[in-house]
Symmetry: C2
């Protein structure tokens, strides 16, 4: 192997190692010490309004631009089996991942988040927030 | 570049491409069509019992062995700012990611899940399940 090729090969192998670890370790997310998972459920005032739901979802999607948001899932109830313990009455949900408590605080005070609240808070009648840290 | 080296280099570069995409796209998870996120909150009968909490957490950790569980987060309330909308009264939480509704159903009926319920259900007084699919 000539030197330049070997250097490239070693570099790519090193990164490859990281890539393989990522794909082969589905539970790696929980290794991020102090990671905060912020899960918010929204109940619309007009739960049958597709327009209101779309507006809320569009608003939630703006939150991914906040620099401390590592991952985002904007969702609606899944059609899993109905059981007494399942609450499928919410209209939409956001799950945000932060590296730590400081990241979550930055998000709370961020102009994009405040704009979302200003634009969309008239749409919902109830919100529940659960903040989780790895056990 | 000799042939064998070049072949390896191209292979690693291809995988490297995937690795870079994974690390540069923090929101890629939401691209999994039909993904189901199953978030369960548990309230212990004896919320001050560290022993009961540890038993519940150990039980929740067994769930990652179920083959349709793609990712798992076992957690407790984070110490974020206290606000009226924040519910931090739960004792523990599990977040499970499935590729689809069928994966969630397999989990529900799986012997490891049934054993967890058998071993741990006497510990909790309340459970709320939220099943979310990407909007």
């Amino acid at each position: 192997m000539e030197k330049e090729t070997r250097r490239k090969f070693l570099t790519t192998t090193a990164v490859l190692g990281a890539g393989v670890a990522a794909s082969a370790m589905p539970f790696q997310d929980k290794k991020i010490k102090n990671q905060v998972i912020h899960h918010v459920f929204f109940w619309l005032k007009n739960p049958s309004s597709k327009e209101d739901l779309n507006k809320l979802i569009a608003g939630l999607r703006t939150l991914e631009k906040i620099e401390t948001v590592r991952k985002i899932h904007v969702g609606v109830p899944a059609s899993t089996e109905v059981r007494p313990v399942v609450d499928n009455t919410f209209s939409a949900s956001e799950i945000l991942f932060f590296d730590d408590l400081a990241g979550q605080k930055t998000y709370q005070d961020h102009p994009i988040h405040l704009k979302f609240i200003e634009d969309c808070s008239s749409l919902w009648e109830k919100v529940i927030v659960y903040d989780v840290i790895d056990a």
